[in-house]
């Protein structure tokens, strides 16, 4: 039996025939995503159900020296689940059990394949007083995939979603199953514990240090009502001050910002949407009243921030739907292609990012479109430069790709850091990084993954 056949048969023994493939059609789909990344080779795909199956796959991969790439929803759009050196894609979405909800300590333990949509509907139905921080990504995105890339969601007042991680179960690259967080020492998955923060060995590593199979995620109270306040300005310089004043009120569940050049009436306006919540109309109205005063304290008669009293229903839906239909951008050029460059940056860099983002989009013959999110109390902003393209038009794809590269460069120049960085951006980051930091990363990786089987090619500089 040849090596390829042996690997295939072993995967079938582990997961079952229907859930393993090396057929060109199945591999075709796993070799590309909805962004501009060029397709890369995949040799096998497997969809395990249990941690034991994952463990066996990892042991097999070590024995046969074949790379593994873990995949959740595959929705980062930056090629992160497309193997760089071929091998096995592990599609985690069949590990989809919601194991436990602890109502008093407010956490949920889930398997790695649980989708954002499934967790949301489960909580709405069974624990209507609780919610998790839901990203705007399409609901098939996995909760764990999102946690592992420091994603962010509808409750970004509490920080990014990785801040909400209490603990994980992980299959190490060498095959051991390991618990991280309070669950390593206690039957309860209530926090990371007063322990060394080992979760950091797996968050932000793009699946290069292990396969997370379970996670405990913090839940938060869900108030009865949600509403929003919308501001607009034509001067981005005012934005840091506006955000500072909004966060000072401690009333925002979430703050999003956006601008788009189409339709025409939106051109030149930056919109700031503040999501608020409360248990009564009174509470909501009070928050609206307080937030509604912010424009008076910002800018001057020339450079104004305006409170939009009448919010068009489509805008309300854009901000308040759970989750909002952000993927609409994929059809802006009637071409099913969309990628965005999310740069994490300090708030004071937003105005310059805004101006230069417009220049980059125009340079590449595109319309400027951005969707940004404020984290915690204004501690960080994810500035999302959006690029829609027509995937049937090679030139259009290339344009978007070039715009992404320029934007990543801009982000780093401004002192920001590209988020969910693709290979090119990882390289750009590493070039700017303190060499000792990169050395440390390499040592950690070598220690955890001596055979280099976990998603090799990522974070290699």
């Amino acid at each position: 039996m040849g090596r390829e056949e042996l690997i295939y048969n072993s995967l079938v023994d582990i997961a079952g025939e229907d859930l393993v493939s090396n057929e060109p059609e199945d591999l075709y789909i796993y070799s590309r995503d909805g962004g501009t990344t060029k397709p890369r080779r995949v040799d096998y795909v497997v969809s395990p159900k249990t941690v034991e199956e994952v463990q066996k796959i990892v042991i097999l991969a070590n024995k046969e020296n074949v790379p593994i790439t873990p995949m959740g929803g595959g929705l980062t759009l930056n090629g992160l689940v497309i193997p760089v050196r071929g091998g096995i894609v592990i599609d985690m979405k069949r590990m989809d059990r919601i194991i436990e909800v602890n109502e008093s300590s407010r956490y949920v333990i889930i398997e790695a394949g649980v989708s954002q949509g499934a967790l949301m509907s489960y909580l709405k139905k069974n624990y209507p007083d609780l919610q998790h921080s839901m990203p705007e990504a399409p609901s098939i995105a996995t909760v764990v995939g999102n946690l592992l890339i420091r994603g962010h969601g509808s409750l970004s007042q509490y920080g990014d979603n990785s801040n909400m991680l209490n603990g994980i179960e992980v299959v190490l690259p060498t095959g051991e199953i390991c618990q991280v967080g309070s669950c390593s020492t206690s039957p309860h998955w209530f926090s990371k514990g007063p322990l060394p923060d080992l979760a950091g060995l797996f968050v932000g590593w793009f699946g290069t240090t292990g396969i997370v199979t379970k996670a405990s995620l913090r839940l938060y109270p869900r108030p009865e009502k949600r509403d929003m306040v919308l501001f607009a300005t034509q001067n981005p310089d005012l934005i840091p001050d506006v955000i500072c004043k909004i966060t000072q009120t401690r009333m925002a569940d979430n703050i999003g910002m956006m601008e788009q050049e189409k339709p025409e009436y939106m051109k030149g306006y930056q919109f700031i949407g503040v999501i608020i919540s409360g248990d009564s109309e009174e509470e909501i109205n009070y928050k609206k009243k307080v937030l509604g005063k912010i424009p008076q304290a910002c800018g001057d008669s020339e450079n104004k921030v305006t409170l939009l009293e009448e919010i068009p229903p489509s805008s309300k839906e854009r901000f308040l739907e759970e989750p909002p239909f952000a993927a609409v951008a994929a059809d802006f050029r009637k071409g099913g292609g969309f990628q965005y460059c999310g740069i994490m940056m300090p708030i004071e860099k937003v105005p310059e990012a805004w101006r230069r983002g417009i220049e980059i989009a125009h340079k590449h013959g595109m319309l400027f479109q951005c969707a940004n999110q404020v984290m915690s109390a204004g501690h960080e902003v994810m500035f999302g430069f959006n690029y829609s393209f027509n995937r049937a038009d090679e030139k259009d794809v290339e344009r978007a790709k070039k715009a992404m590269e320029d934007t990543n460069k801009l982000g780093l120049e401004l002192g920001g850091i590209p988020w969910k960085a693709d290979l090119q951006a990882q390289k750009q980051i590493v070039e700017k990084m303190d060499p000792n930091t990169f050395e440390l990363m390499k040592k950690v990786k070598k220690l955890l993954d001596p055979n280099g089987i976990m998603n090799p090619g990522n974070w290699e500089g």
């Binding site: 229907d18 859930l19 493939s21 057929e23 060109p24 059609e25 199945d26 075709y28 789909i29 796993y30 995503d33 909805g34 795909v45 969809s47 929803g73 595959g74 929705l75 599609d91 979405k93 069949r94 919601i98 989708s115 949509g117 499934a118 967790l119 949301m120 509907s121 489960y122 709405k124 139905k125 399409p138 609901s139 098939i140 239909f325 993927a327 609409v328 994929a330 059809d331 009637k334 071409g335 099913g336 292609g337 969309f338 027509n390 995937r391 049937a392």
Partner: protein, 389 residues
């Protein structure tokens, strides 16, 4: 429309996956029965769109048997078209159908699909049953053949005519119609396949042929109104035949007969019932109320809903010819078994259906799950028949 007519649309699919879910993202499971079973992205609606684009439009992949296997595992349940959030959502199932037409042209259909189509061509039904046996289900009943002047043609369809489980429903509906006093009759050996599945399987030519044959008989007999047992027949006759016939699914007719007092259900039927919406009645034809109105009109029936219901109903896995081709296969993750477990979870003792395909699929699943002592599958016509005075 042919696949080439969709060439500017297919690549617009973003593979974002809304189409895998119910409208409320039910945690119970994905609502595309194919993806629910196979769980590889290639078996999701978006995966199929990308494969169709790659192989049948762009030529990046050679159309193959495996592609055909993937495309023919789809039950055409229409959940994807309903849940895709983009403007082109209506086209998704049409694209799937058009891609199958290409597979037919390229002679790449799975062997079992080919067998289905050949049987329908040769025998007028997928089972290779003799035409004259199409009468057998009505033996020893008073249900008679359609005669000129009858108000309704009772169109039974292949599954109700030949499948032994579904024949019970065919007889029960016949019996209810007799009790209503409506002048009606069936075609028996003169009836040929309605072609709904043939159309869904991409054999356009054969569908046109069947449509013509049936239409000719209807016209010859002066048929004006048709009541169908199967939502599949209802869909074909109502939406894809000429509009000179008034077509009803039987639940619509019975609902009206109960309302007008022509059917008296006061004998009642004591049971806790959950109802499974068939795709070709629900998602295709937006009829969610008639079956429920019948059930709730029957004294003693307590109607409980499954988690995934109405627009969000989970397909039994039998559509698009799968009841015969069985490409989705059995096993504990098969759609019919998932659905039976979901029905069982409601605590109902009757799982009511309004489709002979659902009936046979769910009946098999019930046995496989070993739940026969706790749950029974009954067609609404059977429930109704038992409740009539």
């Amino acid at each position: 429309m042919a696949l080439k007519d969709y060439k500017d649309i297919i690549h617009r699919c973003f593979r974002c996956g809304y189409c895998k879910f119910t409208s409320d993202y039910s945690y119970l499971g994905f609502n595309c029965p194919v993806y629910s079973k196979y769980r590889l992205e290639s078996y999701s609606p978006g995966g199929m769109m990308w494969l169709i684009y790659a192989s049948l439009v762009k030529g990046e992949l050679k159309p193959s048997k495996h592609l055909s296997q993937i495309l023919y595992s789809c039950t055409m349940c229409r959940n994807c078209s309903q849940e895709c959030k983009f403007k082109f959502n209506e086209d998704i199932v049409n694209i799937l159908k058009a891609a199958r037409e290409e597979m037919v042209d390229k002679q790449l259909v799975p062997q079992i699909v080919g067998q289905f189509l050949t049987n329908v061509y040769d025998y007028g039904n997928p089972y290779r049953e003799l035409k004259q046996n199409r009468d057998n289900w009505a033996e020893n009943t008073e249900i008679k053949h359609y005669e000129k002047g009858d108000e309704f043609l009772y169109y039974v369809g292949c599954v109700g005519s030949y499948d032994t489980v579904s024949q019970k429903a065919a007889r029960a509906l016949g019996s209810v119609l007799l009790k209503s006093g409506l002048p009606f009759g069936f075609l028996g050996s003169r009836e040929v396949c309605d072609g709904n599945e043939v159309d869904m399987l991409g054999e356009k030519g054969l569908f046109e042929f069947l449509k013509e044959e049936n239409t000719q008989i209807f016209k010859e007999l002066g048929v004006k109104k048709i009541v169908t047992l199967s939502p599949h027949s209802y869909n074909a006759l109502k939406n894809n035949y000429s509009n000179e016939f008034e077509v009803f699914h039987y639940t619509q007719l019975l609902r009206d007969l109960v309302k007008s007092g022509k059917l008296d259900v006061s004998r009642g039927f004591k049971a806790k019932v959950t109802y499974h919406d068939p795709c070709f009645l629900g998602r295709y034809n937006n009829e969610y109320d008639a079956p429920r109105e019948i059930l709730t009109a029957i004294p003693g029936v307590e109607l409980v809903e499954m988690e995934r219901t109405k627009e969000n109903s989970f397909c039994c896995g039998g559509g698009g010819g799968n009841f015969y081709t069985d490409i989705l296969g059995s096993g504990k993750d098969s759609p019919s078994r998932i659905r039976v477990r979901e029905a069982h979870d409601t605590g109902a003792n009757i799982l009511a259906v309004a489709c002979p395909v659902c009936m046979m699929m769910l009946e098999d699943a019930l046995k496989a799950e070993g739940l026969e002592d706790e749950l029974a599958i009954k067609d609404i016509s059977e429930v109704m028949n038992a409740a009539l005075l």
